[in-house]
């Protein structure tokens, strides 16, 4: 065990190795590690953001769905109301029309009855006159008693 210039050679070698390591080995590896660390952190942050956005979107979708349901319910209610109204109107119209037609039929029946009664009266009057004529033919002069006959006709 004796000291010699190996000591110096070793120191020089050591310094060279450290310099090389510091210049060409450590920085690239540390860079890669740092970059990866950053990428992973970014990725995690992005994932968090995505999750948050997903939550927001889900919330929004829920809101929209609820609105749509409410709207649909409103539309349906309105439509039902309107339908009921239309039915009611139709009922009213039908009723009125029925009443109108009933009235018209009644009027027409009354008219017919009147006409029939009129013609019946005339026929009865004519029969009465004819009967009276037959009775009076012999005693009554048609010309002299015409006014009397007309009066009788009117009374019948």
């Amino acid at each position: 065990m004796n000291f010699n210039a190996t000591l110096i050679g070793q120191s020089i070698t050591f310094i060279f190795f450290v310099w090389f390591c510091m210049k060409f080995v450590w920085p690239p590896i540390m860079n890669a590690l740092e970059t990866r660390k950053k990428q992973i952190a970014d990725g995690l942050a992005a994932a968090d953001r995505g999750k948050h956005e997903l939550e927001l979107a889900a919330k929004k979708a829920g809101d929209n769905l609820r609105d749509a349901k409410a709207q649909a319910a409103e539309v349906i209610a309105q439509a039902e109301k309107r339908a009921a109204q239309i039915v009611e109107e139709a009922k009213q119209a039908a009723k009125q029309e029925g009443e109108r037609q009933l009235a018209a039929a009644q009027a027409s029946i009354d008219q017919e009855a009147n006409r029939a009664r009129e013609s019946l009266r005339e026929q009865v009057a004519a029969l009465a006159v004819a009967g009276a004529e037959k009775i009076l033919r012999r005693e009554v002069n048609a010309q002299t008693h015409a006014d009397l006959l007309a009066q009788l006709k009117a009374e019948l």
Partner: protein, 296 residues
């Protein structure tokens, strides 16, 4: 393999000898295996053939095996990490990138846990320290005779394959860290602040020689303990591997027992080598953190 050596002592000595290249002074007497003596006419650059020659080469010699293995392992680490760094994507990591990211994040966590200031140097420094020391320690798990045996086939007389059992290597690391500590202490606190930290605590100012002595010892102890802890652990571990390997030279039963022991010690050593690398790294971070902090 131990049987190839004259004695167990020689086997151990052989395994603890670095492949040292340096200059032997003129007039140095070289003894070879056969007892022949060669007197060098002039100073000669050569590979030491034994521990005495390595010592005679003085400071300006270099342990070729330590340098080769440490540089090779360091390059191995840098090659794979650079490869991963080049291909690093922020997308889905696979294979090598996964592994590298796992280690980088582990180191980053350790640095963030112990270092409370901003300094782009510390984390790469910790990564380099941890992996390089780990890989150097890892060589300890290779059976002690494999690489030296292959080397001796190729005519290389010594080969110590675990660089962290060479104090030159561990001190090279710890002294570099120590200079960084000094640099950042002065840079962050100013020369005056650093001196005040050494001289004006823990006792009142008028006792500054005592403070200086205490804090100075504390300061110097940092690199020494850092280097010796790693060296001591790895050297001791290696020594035990060598002692176990001695059993393979005995009879069959002893060899089998040695094999079981080696396996058990290697399993235990997986913990040791990782732990030592981790301790070295953590203390490096802590020392640098102390250098950045106003009070400790």
């Amino acid at each position: 393999m131990a049987s190839e050596y004259a004695s167990s002592g020689e086997y151990i000595k052989h395994h603890l000898q670095n492949l040292t290249y340096g200059q032997l002074p003129a007039g140095y007497e070289r003894h070879d295996h056969h007892g022949n003596v060669e007197v060098l006419q002039q100073a000669t650059w050569t590979v030491a053939h034994n521990a005495e020659e390595a010592k005679a080469m003085g400071f300006w010699a270099i342990n070729l095996d330590s340098m080769a293995f440490s540089i090779g392992l360091g390059l191995l680490f840098l090659f794979f990490f650079r490869l991963a760094a080049k291909r690093a994507t922020a997308g889905i990591p696979a294979g090598l990138q996964n592994f590298v990211e796992w280690i980088v994040e582990f180191i980053d966590g350790a640095v963030k846990g112990s270092f409370s200031h901003r300094n782009p140097l510390v984390a790469p420094l910790a990564l380099t320290v941890f992996l390089w020391v780990f890989l150097m320690n890892f060589m300890d798990l290779l059976p002690v005779d494999w690489l030296p045996y292959v080397a001796s086939m190729a005519g290389v007389p010594f080969l110590k394959v675990v660089p962290s059992t060479d104090p030159n290597v561990t001190f090279g690391l710890s002294l570099s860290v120590f200079f960084l500590v000094l640099y950042y202490s002065v840079k962050m606190k100013g020369p005056g602040g650093f001196f005040a930290e050494l001289a004006f605590q823990p006792f009142p100012k008028f006792l500054f020689p005592v403070n200086l002595l205490l804090e100075g010892v504390g300061l110097i102890a940092k690199p020494i303990s850092l280097a010796l802890r790693l060296f001591g652990n790895m050297y001791a571990g290696e020594m035990i591997f060598i002692l176990i390997a001695l059993m393979f030279g005995g009879n069959f039963v002893l060899g089998l027992f040695g094999g079981a022991l080696q396996w058990a010690w290697a399993v235990f050593h997986i913990l040791i080598i990782t732990l030592q690398a981790f301790i070295f790294m953590t203390l490096t971070i802590v020392y640098l953190d102390m250098a950045h902090s106003e009070h400790h």
